[in-house]
Amino acid sequence: MVNIVVAVKHVSGSADETVFEDDLTIDRTGSDGHLSELDEYAVEQALVLKDHLGDGATVTALTVGPAGASDALAKALQMGADDAVHVCDDAIAGSDALGTAVVLAAAIGRLQHDVVVFGIASTDGWMGVIPSMVSELLELPVLSRASEVTVAGQTVRVRRDDDTESRVLEADMPLLVSVTDQSGEPRYPSFKGIMAAKKKPVLTWSLPDLGVDDALVGAQGSCVAVMEVTTRPPRGKGVLVTDESGSGAAELVDFLSTHKFV
């Protein structure tokens, strides 16, 4: 039977409300965090794959993060994941992308992982490198940036849309897939799903559970140092005109002309 692992991230509030700590990491203790929106697409595709595979296929939601990150797992379980794993260890805080990928790869390696599904990027860090890093660490083939996912037997097929071409690509299990927000709208949890989620098993693993050397993770293990964070200065107040029988266009042409675009 096939098990699908979907990796999800808990992110704090919206970008408007993000706060940096004194050590220039993002404050992740805020209570209004949620499952990263782009990871909802990953959960959706994991569930669609499960439905297509039938025959007892299961979905395991996996996250790495502090205690509050379990909210992201709860959402994935409400949407329909069967069980969840929360890798939670104080030593992980401040990890860079590589450290995070090492932890994720170790956790995925401990789970049955026929298909591993990721979103394209988190909505806070926005690097989009984790799927490639985990693929490299686990030596799994990767179908990245998929805008359409289908499965037949042991073979997963995707469509990837780039600027100059669209490609259909496929690979056999075990493999890793990252999906875009074009892959299909995520479902809303049903009332039944929300109630059922409360009874689904959630395992918590620490770094020793995974056998990960903590020299590779956390701020100590990070290969990147953020030196300075500055708030983008607000844009100056602009000119606002109201169009009245063509006046708006005339003033716009004047503006474009003043700035030498016309």
């Binding site: 490198v129 693929s135 669209s166 290969c223």
Partner: protein, 317 residues
């Protein structure tokens, strides 16, 4: 002087503009060594004109562009041989995938999506715009060979003179089990400038009602590219390749004209570093006006045609 390896994208025998930008940035940190996959020796003139002192021509047996995994492996072997001060990779298409794999292979730190790169006492420091453009960070790699991916338009390409030595090297391949290409379909190439590289972007949103004709004509009148909001793309009015925003393209043109776009954060994240922003919207309360240097409260279906006529009149005056 230390060497800086630069991954060079090319098309039709010429290097791309982001590649020229990356070579320009590389010169701030050391002597550029251009790494080119599957190109003719003719690119030597291009890379030399942007200051590359070495050119590594990687033979590609199939003629297909190698996978990110194979490009990363080839770069990793060059990193161990040449011990560069830095590896610079343009983000275009799959640069971040190559960089991510390279970081694993050489156990080094990576900074993605830099908008600038400077030398602080010889140490590369990358500048990033983060959290929907609300913050700017500077970061440096503290372990291994620094890997930095750079966004288009980070610097104006600047020519340099000098000699360039060309070396042929072999592609290093990895995973035995890889992905299979089933089919591919080329997209029609637009006559307009590339969205991420254009000096002028004219974009349309929900307010167009699906009719992009005026948006396109204004773009053409200004020599610009056409963009679309997520709402317009989700409605099927314009291709996803033209989407401006967090999950589409992040653009930073000299002039951005938003038409019938309310300005949700996911859109603002894709355009708020534009030099000048113009907005046309019927709704005076639209958040896009908070960003606009010049805003017109009005119906784009009348304002845009009149603007196009006005531009034509100036042009012939």
């Amino acid at each position: 002087m230390a060497e800086v390896l630069v991954l060079i994208d090319h098309a039709e025998g010429r290097i791309t503009k982001p590649a020229a930008e990356a070579l320009t940035l590389a010169r701030r940190l050391g002597a550029p060594g251009a790494v080119v996959f599957g190109a003719q020796a003719s690119v030597v003139d291009d890379v030399q004109s942007y200051g590359a002192e070495r050119l590594y021509l990687v033979g590609v047996p199939s003629g297909e562009s190698p996978s990110p995994a194979d490009r990363a492996r080839t770069l990793a072997s060059l990193v161990s041989e040449r011990e560069p001060a830095l590896v610079l990779i343009p983000t275009a298409s799959d640069g971040n995938e190559v960089g991510a794999r390279l970081a694993v292979l050489v156990r080094s730190g990576i900074v993605t999506d830099a908008v600038d790169l400077v030398s602080e006492d010889g140490v590369p420091v990358a500048v990033k715009s983060v959290l929907a453009g609300g913050f700017t960070t500077t970061a440096r790699v503290t372990r291994g060979t620094p890997i930095v991916t750079v966004k288009p338009n980070s610097v104006t390409p600047d020519k340099a003179s000098g000699a360039c030595t060309s070396t042929d090297i072999a592609l290093v391949t990895g995973h035995t089990r890889d992905v299979t290409l089933v089919s591919r379909e080329r997209r029609a190439v637009s006559e307009r400038p590339d969205l991420t590289e254009a000096a002028v972007v004219v974009a349309g949103g929900r307010g167009t009602g699906g009719d992009f004709a005026a948006v396109e004509r204004l773009a053409d009148a200004l020599g610009g590219a056409v963009g679309a909001s997520r709402a317009a793309v989700d409605a099927g009015w314009y291709p996803h390749a033209c989407q401006v925003g967090q999950t589409g393209k992040v653009v930073s043109p000299q002039l951005y004209i938003a038409n019938g776009i309310s300005g949700a954060i996911q859109h603002r994240a894709g355009m708020q570093t534009s030099k000048l922003i113009v907005a046309v919207n019927k709704d005076v309360e639209a958040p896009i006006f908070d960003l606009a240097d010049f805003g017109v409260v009005g119906d784009l279906h009348t304002v845009l045609p009149a603007t196009i006529d006005g531009i034509a009149a100036r042009g012939s005056a």
